[in-house]
Symmetry: C2
């Protein structure tokens, strides 16, 4: 029998389904694992990843499967194994093994799904990640979902929206099983960053460092939770090219996190390639670190995440004023949005089975029901505006970047130069910085912040020592 | 300006488009690069891979782009870059850079595509790999393509089928540029297998060997052309799990090939984990090697690939008779299909931009127009039945496997035991074999076979030495 990789213990899965059923008011939820996504032709698929809602309540990543969570019982509708499957893919887990792993009450052939939906009282569902499955859902449930773009919460009918809200409420606060698995993913990420540090040296390519990092993930049976960013062009925020050659004086921004058994981690460190920060790099590095420390220290139940963002923004603005890059009084600069020229993204986001947890539901998870996104540059990219609660896992990731597209834009950089809030001449002396980000994964507890990735060095001396010694101590 | 990874020189691309235009009889072809495929939520996508037909004639992997190849001019319809793109993804290549890289006559905004199609004389297209793009194609071209399964050649109307045949005729015979790039991919694969050998040892997990192999691909700016198979359970033909622990006496089957700049390689070696084949493993290994040698030596223009398959099958059957596993006379055994119990798949397939080249067109590429697949077990999995021509690149990959699902099946293993063609008692002494496959990539030349992956050790002594010494010499 093949090993069955699971994202939770069966008791956990049962407890999650029971919690869901309690809030669903007699509705029956159907979660779709989704279909394999083709790479360059139908039979050559990307590594299969089941939808996170399915995985969260169902535990096993079975392509094509559907989990039914009813008021009193759960059914896993699976694609039956064919003799050809046995030849090409080996023996599939039998129903008994599946039932033991998932704790469901029954296993059925997914061929009967439409009948099960028709027989269910008040069936509801959430859009699967792949379009083929969404079209199938729309047919089975008689839904009028759009075909030319992802389905958003606004497209859902009332029953499905109720389900979305119920799922968000449960997944927002991670249970012990979830926290243990996020911790495990963070340990793999610790080792991966260590291998990246060992691989970085002037003359090597970004690709070599990325390879060392992802190799550790694969060796642990994990995989990248998102496209790793490993670049000396740290000012390109979602840079997933790796062709540049490292040189003395470069900062290498490494934003890489492992996903293990369906649970993500997400860590950024910024390393001086030659083992020493240049003075101007170190100055801004310490500003970012101070902003991160300020935000982490303020983490506590009841604290609004947007306030952490603004607190970090003030520290960054203060640091930029101290360095002569911004000119003026901190509160006024932050109010005007001058800090966002250099810190254009949000302080962080929810982390869980998705690296931006539940972002498939738009802002339904990240924003409290009575809050919406700001229109302001910078704040409009903030993915999280909730009051923190114990069990939430969030990233805290301030950064400073010199982005030509921002600094040269009429309505951004040039407008602030015009208002004499930015000193471009002074900024030139910081050209070697390009991009700095420091990111940790933080569990909110009753006491405050439990930094799950604290073991990965980030103090400037520790980072320099790690690069110079080509590695750092394993996770405790 | 970002570096623009290309899959061919602009002169090559122009020559390919000119060759296509000459066969299209005034038609205008539209090739779709396709859209990014989501992993667990819309914004977290798998690494983008453009469709191979688009890449073959267009050269650059631009998501959402469409290449128009008309009788006298080519147009690249691209998604224009937004200010947000510049922030998140850095500067995009400008039109001038794109035109230089692709050699097209014009670059346009893809927003005008429907008008371009409407204005074109006899527009035709091939189905993109992703469903979202296929739905878009169906709308623009007024096609009635199926939505619940991949589009096959049988679904195409006459104009599109003509285009499919024209593309197959061109892509079948690789030009010098293509061959040079396949060679480059093979060199990366050589290094990757070397790293895999260095990483294999009793007590380590399959995942560690896979990680070492794919790490080399990533470090070269390449990626796996398909899901690597790295397993001691070699009898599971498409096994992409990596959780098993290696032990003395195991054979580790490694089927891993790099894709570099859109061009694939595909190599299998079977390694004794402890550095020594057990006598029964070595006996069957030499049978597989002899089958491969026989097939490779017979490669020549005009030779029918199916005859190579059958020649290899006869060598395998002869070896199995010599070892006492099959009982009877070789030709009769092969005619009865007894060899296919142990060699259930085809001898090989086309290789190019796709590891099974042009398999998106079903058998239109693999099978000559007047040939169709056999119904016989084993032969039904043969992906290639054409007469070889110079410029074709094919894999030659015989194997022997002890697959419980086959040996225990009433109509397969048991039927042949009944007919006294298989000696199960004797077979038991070979239980440690599980699966052996030896696969190389072969360019057909006027003179015969040019084995592009010959530098990767495969003689049993060389394989043993490589494992014992934890590596082998770099590619020449």
């Amino acid at each position: 029998m093949p090993s069955l990789a699971c994202s939770a213990e069966p008791e956990t899965l049962r407890a999650r389904r029971a919690a869901l059923a309690r809030t669903l008011d007699g509705r029956t939820a159907f979660f779709f694992a989704g279909a394999e996504r083709p790479r360059n032709y139908p039979a050559n698929t990307y590594p299969f990843r089941a939808g996170s809602h399915f995985l969260y309540f169902g535990g096993v990543g079975l392509a094509g499967a559907v989990l039914e969570v009813g008021p009193s019982a759960s059914v896993l509708h699976r694609v039956p194994s064919t003799p050809e499957d046995a030849l090409w893919h080996g023996p599939a887990p039998d129903d008994e093994a599946l039932q033991a792993a998932t704790g469901v009450d029954e296993i059925r052939d997914v061929a009967g799904l439409a009948d099960a939906v028709a027989a269910a009282r008040a069936p509801c569902t959430l859009p699967a990640v792949d379009l083929a499955t969404r079209l199938r859902q729309a047919r089975i449930f008689g839904l009028d979902w759009p075909e030319d773009r992802p389905v958003t919460v606004g497209d859902l009918d009332e029953g499905d929206r109720t389900l979305a809200q119920a799922v968000v409420e449960i997944r927002l606060r991670n249970d012990d099983d979830a926290v243990a698995r996020i911790r495990a993913a963070c340990r793999v990420t610790h080792a991966a960053h260590g291998a990246g540090v060992a691989a970085m040296a002037p003359g090597r390519r970004e690709a070599a460092v990325r390879a060392a990092i992802e190799s550790v993930m694969l060796a642990h049976g994990a995989e990248p939770a998102y496209g790793s960013i490993v670049s000396i062009a740290g000012e390109i925020l979602h840079n997933t090219t790796y062709h540049r050659t490292l040189a003395h004086g470069d900062l290498l921004l490494v934003d890489a996190g492992a996903e293990l058994d369906g649970w993500a981690s997400d860590v950024t460190r910024t390393y001086p390639v030659g083992g020493r920060f240049l003075p101007e790099q170190r100055a801004l590095y310490e500003v970012v670190l101070e902003a991160q420390r300020t935000a982490i220290e303020a983490v506590a139940p009841g604290v609004r995440f947007r306030d952490l963002h603004l607190a970090a923004a003030r520290v960054l603005a203060r640091g930029l004023v101290d360095e002569g890059i911004l000119v003026g009084e901190v509160d006024g600069l932050v109010e005007a949005g001058a800090h966002a020229l250099f810190f254009p993204h949000g302080l962080g986001h929810l982390l869980g089975m998705d690296v931006h947890d539940m972002e498939d539901l738009g802002d339904a998870a990240g924003y409290a029901p009575d809050r919406t996104r700001s229109d302001a540059f910078g704040l409009c990219y903030l993915r999280l505006d909730r009051d923190l609660e114990p069990g939430m896992v969030v990233t805290i990731e301030p950064g400073l970047y010199l982005v030509p597209a921002i600094l040269e834009a009429e309505h951004l950089g040039r407008a602030f130069v015009e208002r004499k809030m930015v000193d471009l001449d002074r900024l030139e002396t910081f050209a070697s910085v390009r991009g700095i980000r420091i990111e940790d994964d933080v569990l909110v507890t009753e006491e405050g912040a439990d930094v799950l990735t604290a073991s990965i060095p980030k103090a400037p001396e520790a980072v320099e020592a790690a690069v110079a010694r080509r590695g750092f101590a394993p996770a405790g």
